[in-house]
Each structure stands twice: as structure tokens, then as C-alpha cells.
Amino acid sequence: MQFGGQAAQIESGHLAQVLAKSLISRGPIAGIQLACTLVVMRMQPHAQFRGQPVPEGQAATAIELSDASVTFGRGDRAVPALSKTTLKIADGEFVALVGPSGCGKSTILRLVSGLVQPTGGVVIVGGREVAARAMRVGMAFQNPTMLPWMTIERNIMLPLKIVEPFRSNFRRLRKTEFRDKANTLLEQVGLKGFGSRYPWQLSGGMLQRANLCRALIHEPRMLLLDEPFGALDQFTREELWAILQNLWMTHKPTVLLVTHDLREAGFLASRICVMSARPGRILDDSHVVFARPRTVAMTFEPDFVALNQKLRAFIEDARSAAEQGTG
């Protein structure tokens, strides 16, 4: 669970491997850039690379995108989804990504989770370059995708069947420790006693809460949410904001939330990044300083409304710029 432990040390063998790979795949300049980055990192070892506690007031970097680009397809059919994005997210931060639709917000999530490889630049998650391996992050989408043949409890325990060290102990602990784990989470999202129900017995909002539990059960350091509340009605959504805020304050994972809802971003995030239209870039990056725990009432106060207006203006600009570009 400790981030530093996962990061481990960058050994010289590994260093050479990463370098060679980037030289082959991205050309000499990117290789030199990466070499510099890595050498600097080795010269000034960040606390996380030594597995030591992070010094007070200086959070370790959880996610780092440097000039990361993603292009889908090749040749004439190539569609740039993300262009030269640089973004640094500290451990335990709650970052919301907002922007016009199709601007590459979800692509960033897929990059960080290791589902997509960058076609340019570097993505470093947990102190390591995102390679072909998965990052074992918790993910949740708009569609809760609970398996209909399993109880909610067993659905939530699904990641434990996949991720080590839980995987090897699954048969032994599924009826005891793991089940307790699932039920503790269910209690935290207000679904106490619903563990033995089947997904079709729950409402959309309840399923989405279960979805959050499933994303957190294996104690990931990182939670990636792609419009998790998009399909819910306004009241349920606001209820779930509070629940997600609680979960974050309890477990303190690094959260990357993609959303279209500016109030949602303002309510939940400690930092909001506004992205431009496709191919996406980060236009604005601002910290949200409202005290926690935040309440729905706060979202109607002048400061909060002003923040919303500011974000809205950015997105409007991005959209009209995109229209002019294509028109």
C-alpha cells in the first residue's frame, strides 16, 4: 500500500533498460531528455525512491506527465488525442480534469492506468515509467458494471482475485478477512447490509457506490474516476459527492476525476485542470482552497460561483477556438 515501497529504487539495470527503450521508440532527443530526468532523480533522490516517509510539507509526486502525447491510428488516419501535456500530481491530491467533450481527459486516465502507452513524452506513475504492465490502480466509470451473477459483496471483492498479495490468499480469506474488508467499505458508503444483495436489487446510485467500493478494495494508491456520476440524477449525485469526499478523506488516495460537471469538480477537487479541445492540452491549473468537508450549500456561495464562472469561461474559449480551427 505504501507508495514509496511500490516505487522502489531505480537500479542501474532498470535505468539502462528504460533509456534503451525510449531511444528506440521515441528517438534520441526524448531519450536524452529522459536520461537527464533520471540522472537528476538519482542525484537528488526523492524520499519516495528510498521508501522513507515523505518529509513534512513536501508531498511526493504520484503522477508525472512530461510532454505526453497520444495519437490513435497511423499515417493519414492518425487522430491526435493528447498533445504534449505536462502535469504533475502530488501524492494524495484530488485533481479534477474538466474540458469540452473529446478533449482527451479520458486518455489521460488511460495513460495513467497503463491501458494506453504514450506515443510521445514520458508518463511516470509511482516513480516508474508506465510500461506495458498495469499500474494496479482503482478505476470506476459511469457504467457500474457489476456482474449480475454475484452478490454485491463478491462483486466488490473481484479485484482481490486479481491483485497480489490478495490473489494468493483469496481462497483462504474470502469468507473472513476479505469479506470484512468489503463490508467495512460498504458501511463507509452507506450500503451497510446490502452486501448479500444482487446488483439488480439496487438502484443506480447504490450501484455507483458499490462501484467506488470495488475501485478501493485493493487499497490502491490511486483512484481514477471517469465521469462516475454522469448518469445519476442531481440529488443522488450530490449525495455521492459527499460520500466520495469522505472516502478520500479516510483513505487519502491520489484521485484523478474526469467530469463535465463544474460544480462537481469544485466540490470534490483540491485542484482543477481545464483542458483544451482535441488534441487536448492543459489550459488552466488552479487550486481549490475551500475548507473540507465541503457541503452542497457551499456550492451556492459567491466564491464558489465565481470559480465556476472562471472555469466555464475557459471551456467556452476552448470550444470556440476549436470551432474556428475546424471551420
Binding site: A134, M135, M139, T145, L147, W149, I162, Y198, H218
Partner: protein, 258 residues
């Protein structure tokens, strides 16, 4: 709910009885010769009288059907899994499969006979070849409909293709699989009897062929009744198994007060 279920069953049973009564009355009133259309009562009498003779043939047909069916299911599941997991394999294999499935199976029986001689082997092969297609299609469809979001969630956790297949793909396929089993067992039965009719000296199909060439029409109909009975029995068996294994797929309509 229980009441409606019982009433439904009573209506079904009533219709069956009505069918036989109407048939019996029709023959009696028109003075139909039993060489053309025997009365149901005559058929039942023949069935009971000749049962000791029919029994080995019933066993033969059942055994052939089940053997072909089991082989067909094994082959169908394997091929369906391969096709369902990989989009490329799906697109590549589909035209060929459609080609095979559109060949009327009567047409391949002579070929099987040519290769393996008449008897049990062509019957098993016909049963296999006729029942395996619906299984392939259903398994492949079940696997191909796995939600992409869930696949992403699991891949982000480091799940292998096999993990996803085992935990999500195969269980999701079960309703499709059992639905296809019901169809496949009927098909296998048709295939086995078909082959027995063309080239065999055992089995219900052969009994019916022999009886018709002797103008023993009640025995032909007795054979038909046996086939219908066996077909229904096999269908029921697989429906019951389906209900046990994949109840979750049909339970969505129930309303549970929460």
C-alpha cells in the same frame, strides 16, 4: 403468481389432450384407413405391444444423440471461446462457419457413410455437425458482449486475458450457453435420427423406415411418438439445468421490496 403458473400449465395440458381427441374423432368420422392415418389409440396400443422390440432402438438413438451432442458441445465451446476472445479470429472464421452451417445436413450423411460405413459412426457425426453451430455462435456472442469498461477496470489491475475470461467472460456466457444447449440437443436428436433413416440397421429412424416399407403405419407413428417424447424429455432436462445454473439471468424481472 403460483396460480397463474398452474393455470398456464393446465391450458397447455388441455391443448395436448384436445389435439389427440380431435385427431381420434377425425379418423372415426371420416372412416380413415389406418394405412393412411392411424388413430392415436391404435398408435398407443402398438407402442405398448411393441415396446420390448422398440427399446433397444430407443437406447441406440439416445446413445448416438448424446454422444454426438457431447462431442458437439466440446467442439463448439472450444471454437466459440477462441472466436469470442479475439475479434480477428471472429471476423476470419465467421464466413467459413456460415458456409458450413448452411449445408443441409442430409447432404453430408452419404459422405459420412462413404467414409465410415453405415451404422453408429455417421449418426454420431451427423448429430455433432448439426448441433455444434448454435453453441459456437452463442459462446462467441456471450464472450464478445463483455462490457469494455469492466475489461478496462480489470486490465488496470493487471488482469491477464485468462483472468478476464475465467472471472467475467465464461460466467457471462452461461445463459447464452444453456439457451444454446436446449437448441443443440434437439438438433443433435434430429441429426441422429436423420442418419439412422438413411443408413443404419438400428435406431428409431431405422425402425420407422422398415415399418413404412412394410406398410405398418401404426408402428411408424409409434416411432414418431417415441421421438417426440424423447425430444421433449431432453429439452426439459436442459431447461431444468439452465434454471439451476443461470437463474440470475432471468431473475431481473422479479420485484424485490427493499
Amino acid at each position: 403468481m403460483f396460480g397463474i403458473d398452474v393455470r398456464q400449465k393446465a391450458w397447455s395440458a388441455g391443448l395436448i389432450v384436445l389435439f389427440f381427441v380431435a385427431w381420434e374423432l377425425f379418423c372415426l368420422m371420416t372412416g380413415m384407413s389406418d394405412l393412411v392415418l392411424p388413430r392415436p389409440s391404435q398408435v398407443f396400443v402398438t407402442l405398448v405391444e411393441r415396446f420390448p422390440v422398440l427399446w433397444p432402438h430407443i437406447v441406440q438413438t439416445l446413445a448416438t444423440t448424446m454422444f454426438g451432442f457431447v462431442l458437439g458441445v466440446a467442439l463448439g465451446v472450444a471454437l466459440g471461446a477462441i472466436i469470442g476472445v479475439s475479434k480477428t479470429a471472429y471476423d476470419t472464421c465467421y464466413p467459413l462457419l456460415i458456409g458450413f452451417s448452411s449445408i443441409p445436413k442430409v447432404a453430408v450423411v452419404p459422405i459420412f457413410v462413404l467414409w465410415f460405413g453405415s451404422g453408429t459412426v455417421p449418426a454420431v457425426l451427423t448429430a455433432l455437425s448439426i448441433c455444434f453451430f448454435p453453441i459456437v455462435v452463442n459462446i462467441a456472442t456471450g464472450l464478445a458482449t463483455t462490457e469494455p469498461e469492466l475489461e478496462d477496470v480489470l486490465k488496470a489491475l493487471g488482469a491477464s486475458k485468462l483472468d478476464i475470461l475465467w472471472n467475467v467472460g465464461l460466467p457471462r456466457t452461461m445463459p447464452f450457453f444453456f439457451a444454446s444447449l436446449k437448441v443443440a440437443i434437439s438438433y443433435a436428436f434430429v441429426g441422429a435420427v436423420l442418419s439412422e433413416t438413411v443408413a443404419s440397421n438400428r435406431g428409431i429412424g431405422n425402425v420407422m423406415m422398415t415399418a413404412s416399407s412394410n406398410f405398418n403405419v401404426p408402428l411408424v407413428f409409434a416411432g414418431l411418438f417415441v421421438l417426440a417424447g424423447l425430444g421433449v424429455a431432453l429439452y426439459v432436462v436442459f431447461s431444468l439445468i439452465e434454471g439451476q445454473v443461470t437463474g440470475w439471468a432471468t431473475r431481473k424481472n422479479d420485484v424485490i421490496a427493499t
